[in-house]
Amino acid sequence: MAERRRRRSVVGTVLRGSMTPMIDVTFLLLVFFLSTTRWAREERVIAMDLARREAVADAARDQAAAQPPPPPEDPFVLRDESLRLAVRADGSVDAGTPMNRRLSLPDLRAALAAECRGVAHPTGMFEPSFPIVIAPTDDAPWEVAVSALDAATAAGFRNVGFERLPGRPGSGAAR
């Protein structure tokens, strides 16, 4: 009886002794996977609407077909319905009519913010809902394109998107 009890206790201590390193390893793995998965959660998103490409193509065709002869030039009429920002690979930005300025990416946000009408800039040229169209060149890096989009959004504009090129489905092959 006494012998059996002693054997049981010996088995118990052996089991308990081998458990600790296993738990060490499991927690080590846990910490490892926690630290490697964390970076994905830092990513943020910029939500953006895309124009329907067929709609763009149709609108352009309709406009070309049913366009009346151009009226005489009137310098007081603001004809452009959107501000086009042509973005080049070197980071220079050509702001189209009616702004007509060449800017660089670091200055873009401040320049656009000054033209965004609001409490801070009551004399700004555009309402925050004024459409801003970003038109990067083909060789412009994605970083430059996103920086321009980011600058326009951060300046306070709420209607910012990339320029759409009309095309057939699946024909968007690059180069």
Binding site: L30, A40, E43, A47, P141, E143, S147, S171, A174
Partner: protein, 144 residues
Amino acid sequence: MTPLIDLAFLLIVFFVLVSQVSKAEHADLTLPKAALESSGRPGDAKRVVVNVLPGRDGAAAGYRLGRKEFAAGTEGLRALVAALAQAMKGEPGIEVNVRADRATAYAWVRPAMDAVSDALAESGIDRTRARVRLMVMPEGSSGG
């Protein structure tokens, strides 16, 4: 002791699975940076991720949707549009995240965005505008 080990292994299995899923969705690339105020946190809504796989000299090596890869040519893009349209049919409110490397030229990222609007047209969902979510890193972080 036993329940503790059970729990630990459960956690390990969970994190292994999670890291595999996020690896499949998140190709190894460096995202562009953006200011905090213009970007938001990714929501919990159902989503698909379109990765523009970086190639040499700013070109794209291909596109990846979930685990499926597509070549960067016309054929591959057509297949990508079809796959996206299928995902949209199955879940009309699905979000499309676009991830591209900051050095990839715009000419190679644009087809990925075009594919999203083409897929919406092909899926027949009655919505005039497709919405994409561009993945960025917040300014000041160490990068991806």
